[in-house]
Point group: C2
Chain length 160, copies 2
DNA sequence: CGTTCATAGTTAGGTAGCCTAACAGTTAGG
DNA sequence: CCTAACTGTTAGGCTACCTAACTATGAACG
């Protein structure tokens, strides 16, 4: 199993990082507790927003995101994605349309309300987080900023 | 509402940080999927381990952690803590004993198996994480290491 | 063409973890 | 004492996730 004995410094860093993430979950939980949109739903909406830049409502080729793709992007299984989407649809935040090219597939798009909801929810959470960051020193903020791309890389690793 | 217009850089950092954490949840999820102990249970066990350094089995004053304290440390409500503890107890990983000084209270301690379980689970997760970190550059690792205390501060903010 | 295999989503049923509300027992104060 | 405050547990409910089974469409091939 243990092909790598792994150097102790690396393991220590791994441990500390895991610890930090584990605690951060409660931070996220608190941010998400602020109302209306659950964490999962906000994630889903945000993903939809990122995937369909802005533009068109109806027309073109790539309008909407397929359920399977949503699931993959969110790191969940397809039925879980379906479930979320149905809830969003019922809430009037997303729309499901048949794919003209493949009638097995479903294309999911944000409604205007969905777009507004994710924007306002994001804004509110950002404000709260900014308030927390405000209590840090400049150096601390700089250190945090420097690490974010690294964390991004780590997260990207997982997609592979 | 918006007493603070808040400087745009701070908001951007807040947004990026939130984003990083949001994605990291999937990382944590993957790490925790590796078997036996759920995330919540590992958190609980780890907390118990941290709170009762090592030492005695039965004796002294501070042996064990009270349910309310566990809940506070984990950022959950008391009934949720009770639920976790009962599961751990059934699994033979923790023990519940009446507090000799206050019969309302319950003192929770790890069993030998509990201690072993948290150690091995941690070790396995650390190894996986170390493997991921191995793919980073030295600079990246340094940046990450520098940010961890900052994230720790942020998390500590919440306890207050 | 028509069978067969693969792909896309949905439905059904189950689990974990969290919450609030209601309850029981203990301690402490008037 | 008797009441108020505190510590846990129980009961009931919700969200989000999972696997397995099903439906419907598409695609490949003889």
């Amino acid at each position: 199993m243990n092909a790598e004995p792994a150097d102790p410094g690396l393991l220590a860093l791994a441990q500390d990082f895991r610890e930090a993430l584990r605690h951060s979950i409660y931070l996220v939980r608190r941010l998400d507790a602020d109302g209306e949109l659950s964490a999962a739903q906000l994630s889903t909406l945000k993903m939809l927003m990122d995937s369909s830049p802005a533009s068109a409502g109806a027309g073109a080729s790539g309008s909407g995101v397929r359920v399977g793709e949503i699931a993959r992007n969110l790191g969940v299984k397809v039925p879980s994605a379906t479930e979320q989407i149905i809830k969003l649809e019922r809430a009037g935040l997303a729309r499901r349309e048949p794919d003209p090219n493949d009638s097995r597939a479903v294309r999911v798009t944000l409604t205007r309300e969905g777009r507004a909801a994710v924007e306002s929810a994001n804004e509110r959470r950002n404000t709260v987080m900014a308030g927390i960051l405000l209590s840090l020193s400049d150096d601390d903020r700089a250190a945090l900023a420097a690490a974010l791309p690294v964390i991004g890389k780590i997260n990207a690793t997982l997609q592979a």
